[in-house]
Assembly symmetry: C2
Homo-oligomer: 267 residues x 2
């Protein structure tokens, strides 16, 4: 029996990663989990991000996956070591592929990172880039309203430009030649971000970078059978179906809601 590749994200943003993987590996079975009940992860504490990432990974591991993709930048930035305790299968986050692509692209060794509060606070991109280019200068900016803008469907709105100007103007002054879109929602704001930063800055999207990583792990599969697509979310199946059809455009597969059994206890 074919084992699937498992992918999780805090919500719909990881579908940009899913789409790139589906295009590169048409015969692989893919299982996607979006934690739409508890999105966004960016403002949560590291402990909570780790807890939720473990729960999401456990669910995917129960489905018998062969590789785990952490499509959420915030989870990738803080939870990978904890997830590696759960399983021996390969776990790939979006930080290293994004950092590598940024390092390959930069000429002046001045790189910008935009992401959620959790991702920026972790310093994960800076660490990963400076492993590759020790004297690189890395400048980070948290852009928490970007996620809400995308979820509101205002990515082409005049307000999106005002908010992008507000967040990006400090980075514009720093002479960066490369900017990492360090949140899976941000590629949906690519046009606005590119317009504000100007055409001399190259935008890096981890979704493009991650498929090269996967190709090293997964032997070419050539049974000629198209891979199956299974989607799971923790809330709002209808909204997820609507947004995912906009992002994925073609065939969709099955979609189910997964619920949590939870009860409070005190630390």
């Amino acid at each position: 029996m074919k084992k699937a590749i498992g992918i999780f994200d805090s919500g719909v943003g990881g579908l940009t990663v899913y789409k790139a993987i589906r295009a590169a590996f048409p015969e692989e079975d893919l299982i996607y989990f979006g934690d739409t009940a508890r999105v966004p992860y960016g403002p949560k504490s590291h402990n909570t991000i780790i807890e939720y990432s473990i729960q999401n990974s456990r669910f995917l591991l129960q489905q018998g996956i062969k590789t785990l993709i952490v499509a959420c930048n915030t989870s990738s930035a803080v939870a990978i070591p904890a997830l590696q305790q759960l399983t021996d299968i390969p776990i790939i986050g979006v930080i290293d592929p994004g950092a590598e692509q940024a390092a390959r692209n930069t000429i002046n060794k001045r790189i910008g990172i935009i992401g959620t509060e959790g991702t920026v606070r972790s310093g994960a991109y800076t660490t990963a880039i400076q492993k590759l280019i020790p004297d690189a200068l890395v400048f980070s900016e948290a852009c928490p309203l970007f996620v809400s803008l995308v979820e509101e469907g205002w990515q082409d709105h005049a307000i999106a430009y005002s908010i992008a100007e507000e967040y990006l103007s400090p980075l514009k002054k720093l002479d960066i030649d490369t900017l990492v879109l360090g949140c899976t929602h941000y590629p949906l704001l690519r046009k606005v971000i590119q317009d504000v930063m100007g055409s001399s800055v190259t935008l890096v999207d981890s979704a493009d970078a991650i498929t090269a990583y996967l190709a090293c792990l997964i032997p070419a599969d050539s049974d000629g059978v198209s891979g199956k697509d299974s989607f799971f979310v923790s809330d709002n199946e209808d909204k997820f179906a609507r947004i995912s059809q906009q992002i994925l455009t073609d065939q969709f597969g099955t979609l189910s809601r997964v619920r949590l059994f939870e009860s409070w206890f005190q630390d």
Copy 2:
């Protein structure tokens, strides 16, 4: 032993309700729970809002409270009947007090409601107002970005005005004389909302209305001993402490984090 009044909200917004209750009932013990790990509730499905509201209420009931205040508009709009199954103590949401104050204020019987997607979708304010004034015309608008704006601390920013213009311009054309701030975050945007709507529109804040409700339930307590304040959150104690000190300004009481035991299961 004195029993406390329990108050829950999806996050910090309910502190506006807490503050009004503390001012009106200086000798009552108050226990506040903010579900800061899972904020915001507005975009979640009704089922998930009900599940989370039940968990929050169970936690407060375990502390031995005598009255439960649902400070979150979204929870008040959809979860009160489910919460009434849990306990015989009085449960007070913010919808009825807000609706009553709006009904008392309006002269032309044209009332606007702004709130989260969940609150607006529920139609709870419309139902509550039309019980009091059957021929009232009630117009609702969801303003999802307002919560993110407040959490970003941008309530006085030029962008707050742009976003408020965008959301409120349909309501401005409808000749309303009363506008209910149907989300506990919105009083923190009161100045922007009042400026955009103009001075002829009266803004209604449920936090002011709820204390009159409570006064009917709670006998005057005059042992002369100041009430205790206990705060619990599900994440980010530090951020909560910072924001709550801005909102409450004076003494604070104790603050603890409460964690969830959770595991996924499929529907």
